[in-house]
């Protein structure tokens, strides 16, 4: 599995170098060397972080870099579409920068660092330092080799395919996002759609409150139904899709809308037509790279929506309560509660079923929580590297914060920890579950 | 841009020029794709209909007492071989069904014999409301019985010379019941030889309160889950036997499979003949237009560009034929299901894709040969008219 995603990422890296090389055709050597160096730097950076801060790699930095580049792409895309119609855009006079050694070096090194660090994060953990070092060195070497291989491949590409600066940026950012999407912790698409969902949710709330519409009285259930739609997961997903794809599509549109060269001054008809036909053909081939970007973004969105990561998600074990209504889960025995893994249980009382789990957080405290949160449909949680994930909204919750209430965190349940195990009050468990699930389903159905 | 629009115009002009041939090709393509569509839609909606029919043919599970023997032989269920009377407890069965959470329609049956004029008659106690719902194929002369009334099987009525409105006095082990015949039933099955009365009345007459000999269940499920339901129910009813009744389903499924096979074969034959006729027509066209092809090449069209024009023509025909085929095929399917199966066919929009695909495939496949000759045609010779 790791090998497959790793090779996919490395292919994406090769394509990144290819695109940069085509986009800055005058400085192939600079791009090759810069990309190789950047990649190695990125890999080395991750290694150093692994070493200095074991267990807590500041992935936020990479994520921020990705986010900033995506934002930058948005800016450039908007500017490009503006320029394609108005021709001159004072903020976007980058002629001094495009296709210079400076752009070649900075572009290649920056892309290399980000790509290198993303791909290095994909490497599995190693117990032995020497092997770890070796693996990282091999990865850095592979990246550099692929960069020079890209130079050879670039010569074979038909010369008709050209890359405009904005298309270059779109393709590189899209491919980087594709690389990162295979890592749950580096993925940007799911958080984006989550943010959209939350944003709309909050906006509607605020709006309703600010215009002081009292619940129930004026608004008919049907309208609440429509408002309920706004709170669904689909809104977040499609909103995320729009934000995700728009820049690449804008870049493509900008190329498509670019005015054809003025040929009116050419007297001879045949020559005029030939120029026009060539311009149209060039323009059409320029759309290849934005298309690559769109495909990469689609692949990223797909990978993020259907992650190939296997979650640790044990089948809930049925538990019963003592006549006094107390549930005892022994610490040792069939399952070891303190192994840091999620342990799910199922408690039935009458016709009510409660799913809950017991987990040892990294700081060594046991916590008991419902297998549901206060805002989502109770689809439950699965455990992945260092986090648990809400299956409904795909939010990642760091293990450290499990046991704290709020947001999409699992709803904590009061319990007492004794030497023999964990004691939970069955009654309060059922009440807790009923309250939570009722609240979330109400929101989902929009009846508020 | 402009170029593509012009190409399209060129294609339409070329097709319009040869009205007869275009119409012929369109007709062939539309016919083939409409047939494929129609057969597809018919078998699709028939599959659904058969599933419905299976449901309609009622019970797919029966529960019988453990010691009784169930013969699932030709002609349905035969209960002649009950060695010693064994009964199911009605409450137990109801309870088990509630606990299993099975979604099923059920009807309770109690078989027994009642004495009438020196002879024993096989009688069956049923709930007529259930019977009406679950056995829609019962044909009843007269009315469904009210309390104190009975329905007699067709054969039995003839044998005993019973008529509508007659009153019978039947003696059971515990009680005597007086029943007026309100209807005569014929189903073509074993029901024709039985006398039916309301379940509680028979239970009282026989002194078998709350006892049953047979429960028929109609589970709305197909395939595996039926077996699963049977096993689940069996676990809850250790003193009974839960059997699957699948003949009707099996025979109709088998028939459907055969019909489908036939349809596929017919479609294949039609497609092959349509494909060869497309190929023939296309190659005549190409032969006739060889001068035009030579001219295009002489004017500077590359082999690919010229081929594109002719492929485009084939594809255009394919698309038009496919659309026509879908509309026509849906109409045919509607007609077939109306007349043959007396049901309306479903409207299946995604069959448009299939129809289009079939037609395009035929058009392009049929023009592979002609396209090769377009590709290889020598402009000098063709312009000279060779």
């Amino acid at each position: 599995m790791v090998a497959v995603t790793l090779s996919l990422q490395l292919i994406a890296w090769t394509v990144i170098v290819l695109v940069i090389m085509r986009g800055i055709p005058g400085h192939r050597r600079a791009v090759t060397i810069g990309a190789g160096i950047g990649f190695a730097l990125g890999v080395a950076g991750v290694l150093v972080m692994y070493r200095l801060l074991p267990g807590r790699v500041p992935l936020g930095m990479i994520k921020t870099a990705l986010g900033v580049s995506f934002f930058f792409l948005w800016t450039i895309a908007v500017a490009a579409i503006y320029r394609s119609n108005v021709r001159d855009f004072p903020l976007l006079r980058w002629g001094w920068f495009v296709d210079t050694p400076l752009s070649a070096w900075t572009g290649a090194i920056m892309a290399g660092i980000v790509a290198g660090s993303i791909i290095a994060c994909r490497l599995p953990g190693f117990d032995i330092a020497a092997i770890q070092l070796l693996a990282f060195a091999a990865l850095a070497l592979a990246g550099a080799l692929l960069a020079s291989a890209a130079r050879a491949v670039e010569r074979l590409l038909p010369s008709l395919i050209t890359v405009t600066p904005s298309a270059l940026l779109a393709a590189v950012v899209a491919l980087l996002l594709f690389c990162s999407s295979s890592l749950l912790r580096l993925d940007l698409f799911s958080p984006l759609s989550m943010k959209v969902m939350k944003g709309i949710h909050d906006f509607v709330h605020q709006f309703m409150e600010s215009i002081l519409i009292p619940d129930h009285i004026f608004i008919r259930p049907a309208i609440w139904g429509y408002i309920g739609i706004l709170f669904g997961k689909e809104v977040g997903f499609w909103g995320g899709m729009v934000i995700w794809f728009t820049p690449a599509i804008l870049v493509a549109l900008a190329i498509y809308c670019e005015p054809l060269p003025s040929v009116a001054h050419i007297r001879q008809g045949a020559q005029r037509r030939r120029l026009l036909a060539d311009a149209i053909r060039t323009q059409r081939y320029r759309l290849v790279i934005p298309a690559v970007a769109v495909v990469a973004l689609a692949a990223a969105a797909y990978q993020s929506s259907f992650p190939s990561v296997e979650y640790w998600d044990p089948k809930p074990l049925a538990v019963t309560a003592t006549p006094a209504g107390e549930i005892l889960i022994p610490k040792k025995g069939e399952v070891d509660l303190e192994d840091g893994k999620l342990h799910k249980y199922l408690y039935k009382r009458g016709d009510k079923e409660v799913r809950f789990f017991v987990l040892m957080t990294p700081d060594g405290k046991l916590t008991v929580d419902l297998d549901a949160c206060a805002i989502c449909k109770p689809d439950g949680y699965g455990q992945a590297e260092g986090t648990i994930i809400c299956y409904y909204c795909k939010t990642l919750i760091p293990l450290d914060t499990v046991g704290k209430p709020g947001g999409c965190n699992p709803v904590p349940v009061p319990f007492t920890e004794r030497a023999d195990g964990v004691h939970i009050d069955g009654m309060s468990l059922v009440n807790n579950w009923t309250r939570t699930v009722q609240a979330t389903t109400r929101v989902k159905e929009g009846n508020k | 841009m402009h170029r593509r629009r012009w190409l399209l115009k060129l294609l339409f002009r070329a097709l319009a020029h040869r009205t007869g041939r275009t119409a012929l090709l369109l007709a062939v393509l539309a016919m083939a794709s409409s047939l494929a569509t129609a057969l597809g839609i018919v078998s699709f909606s028939m599959g659904k209909r058969v599933a419905e029919e299976v449901r309609k043919y009622g019970a797919n599970l029966v529960i019988i007492p453990e010691s009784a023997r169930l013969d699932v032989g030709s002609g349905g269920l035969n209960f002649g071989a009950i060695s010693e009377p064994a009964y199911l407890q009605q409450r137990q069965v109801e309870d088990a069904m509630a606990r299993s959470g099975l979604k099923a329609e059920r009807s309770f049956h109690l078989r027994g014999a009642l004495h009438w004029k020196n002879a024993d008659i096989m009688v069956e106690g049923v709930d007529f409301a259930d019977v009406r719902r679950l056995f829609p194929w019962w044909q009843l002369k007269g009315n469904w019985p009210a309390a104190g009334e009975t329905v007699v099987g067709n054969d039995l009525a003839t044998r005993l010379g019973l008529k509508l409105g007659d009153t019978m006095e039947l003696a059971g082990k515990a009680q005597i019941v007086r029943l007026r015949i309100s209807g005569i039933v014929s189903s073509g099955g074993e029901e024709d030889g039985l006398l039916f009365l309301a379940l509680p009345e028979l239970q009282q007459a026989l002194g078998l309160d709350g006892q049953l000999t047979l429960v028929r269940l109609m589970v709305t499920a197909g395939g595996d889950s039926l077996k699963k339901s049977a096993t689940a129910l069996q676990l809850l009813l250790p003193s009974a036997k839960v059997n699957e009744v699948r003949q009707t389903a099996r025979t109709s499924e088998g028939l459907l499979a055969k019909v489908k096979l036939l349809m596929i074969m017919v479609t294949a034959v039609v497609l092959i003949s349509a494909g060869s006729s497309v190929a023939g027509t296309m190659s005549t066209t190409v032969l006739e237009r060889s001068k035009e092809i030579g001219l295009m090449k002489a004017m500077g069209g590359t082999r690919w560009e010229v081929m594109l024009i002719f492929c485009g023509e084939a594809a255009l025909l394919g698309i038009l034929g496919g659309l026509a085929g879908y509309l026509f095929g849906s109409a045919i399917a509607q007609f077939i299901t109306r007349t043959v199966f007396s049901a309306s066919a479903e409207f299946v929009p995604w069959f448009a894709g299939i129809s289009l695909g079939v037609s395009l495939f035929l058009a392009l496949l049929g023009s592979v040969g002609p396209m090769i000759s377009v590709f290889r045609l020598d402009p000098v010779r063709s312009l000279r008219g060779e």
Binding site: Q268, G269, A270, Q271, R272, R273, R274, L276, A277, D278, I280 | H2, R3, W6, L7, L10, R13, A14, A16, H17, K291, E292, G294, L295, M296, K297, A298, M299, G300, G301, T302, R303, W304, E305, P379, V380, L383, R384, G385
Partner: protein, 224 residues
């Protein structure tokens, strides 16, 4: 002396055992009007096809407009034809289902992009401004040939080839077509190579070569 546009040496074309063109050395300079005469089967059409890039020689070298036609691929030859050559045929070879304008636009389509206004003005130039929307079947022989001329010159070729362009025309139409060609040549300055068996038509050119059985037998220069 003007630049050379066609240069052949030892040009041969044989179909199986039959040799249609014996080794031929020919030089045509830019802007020249060359008439090729000879009776049927003398190899004059073969020469025209070779020069126009429609056919490949069996042997020898052939350079047209600085391009070595033997080195070009099949698609390269097609590109050469569309950029460099305009051809007028005896049988016109107009597409029957397209109007006059559209027939001209077909040549534009293969060259680059169709441009209706330009095609229309080209037809007006050959005096067919009133017959734009007519199909070939509705045009007389002379008119059809004028459509052919408009089609042949629409892409501004350097080389105009005529394969007995007046073979099917009566005398007055012939004169009209030849006058038109002469006029256009004066404006566009293309080179003409015209195959004919009509002495009178050949006389419109600057130079006439006579082919017999694939061999150049005689060459004649006209007084200008």
């Amino acid at each position: 002396m003007a630049e050379t546009i066609i240069e052949t040496s030892g040009l041969t074309r044989s179909y199986g055992d039959i040799c249609a063109l014996k080794p031929l050395d020919l030089v045509v300079s830019e802007g020249e009007w060359l008439s090729v005469m000879g009776h049927s089967g003398s190899g004059k059409s073969t020469l025209l096809n070779l020069v126009g890039g429609l056919d490949r020689p069996s042997n020898g070298s052939l350079r047209v407009g600085g391009e070595d036609l033997l080195a070009l691929s099949e698609d390269g030859l097609a590109r050469f034809r569309r950029e460099f050559v305009g051809i007028i045929f005896q049988q016109h070879h107009l597409v029957p289902y397209l109007t006059a304008v559209e027939n001209v636009m077909l040549a534009q389509y293969f060259h680059s992009v169709p441009d209706e206004a330009e095609a229309r003005s080209a037809l007006e130039r050959v005096g067919l401004g009133h017959r734009l929307k007519n199909r070939p079947g509705e045009l007389s022989g002379g008119e059809q040939q004028r459509v052919c001329i408009a089609r042949a010159i629409i892409n501004s070729p350097k080389l105009l080839l005529g394969d007995e362009p007046t073979g099917n025309l009566d005398h007055s139409s012939t004169v009209m077509v030849m006058e038109l060609l002469k006029e256009l040549r004066a404006e566009e300055r293309f080179t003409v190579v015209m195959v004919t068996h009509n002495q009178e038509v050949a006389a419109w050119g600057d130079r006439t070569i006579y082919l017999d059985d694939g061999v150049l037998v005689r060459e004649e220069r006209m007084r200008s």
